[in-house]
Symmetry: C2
Subunit: 86 residues, 2 copies
């Protein structure tokens, strides 16, 4: 398949998975309803995203670094709310 099409699929994928945490962060901030949210999930996910950011920086992969820096912000907010309002 055309390499450009594959790249476009990759960018759409990155955009979707990155931006998806924004509505969750907004919902959690507005409602403070974290009963159904898993603490181990956000602890693991935030740590994993931090490692992805580190990996992106060390391997000079700007898209990986930027996408994970954004996700890290959203995931950290949700994690802090989960710890505070559990």
């Amino acid at each position: 398949m055309n390499l450009n099409i594959i790249a476009i699929i990759g960018y759409c994928a990155a955009f979707g998975t990155t931006i998806s945490f924004l509505p969750q962060a907004i919902k959690t901030i507005q409602t403070k309803d974290t009963s159904g949210i898993s603490l181990p999930m956000y602890a693991l996910f935030t740590a994993g995203t931090l490692l992805w950011l580190l990996y992106g920086i060390l391997s000079d992969s700007l898209p990986v670094a930027i996408a994970n820096a954004i996700t890290l912000i959203f995931a950290s907010i949700i994690l802090v709310y989960k710890i505070r309002y559990k």
Copy 2:
């Protein structure tokens, strides 16, 4: 930095963000408590993960394909529960 160390960081990152959805899926299945979970998040995230899987297959990147196939299973379960028990 040593390329092996960078690769190990990448694998740890992939493991953390992939496996993190397992405790959320288990919690959601057991409690059916989805009030704090964002539907737009899981709709976007599941679609994004599906595109990542497609990207991994088309670009012959087995790690990307495998990690996202696993995440897709967990994210789909959470999405289905959110739709059914909202």
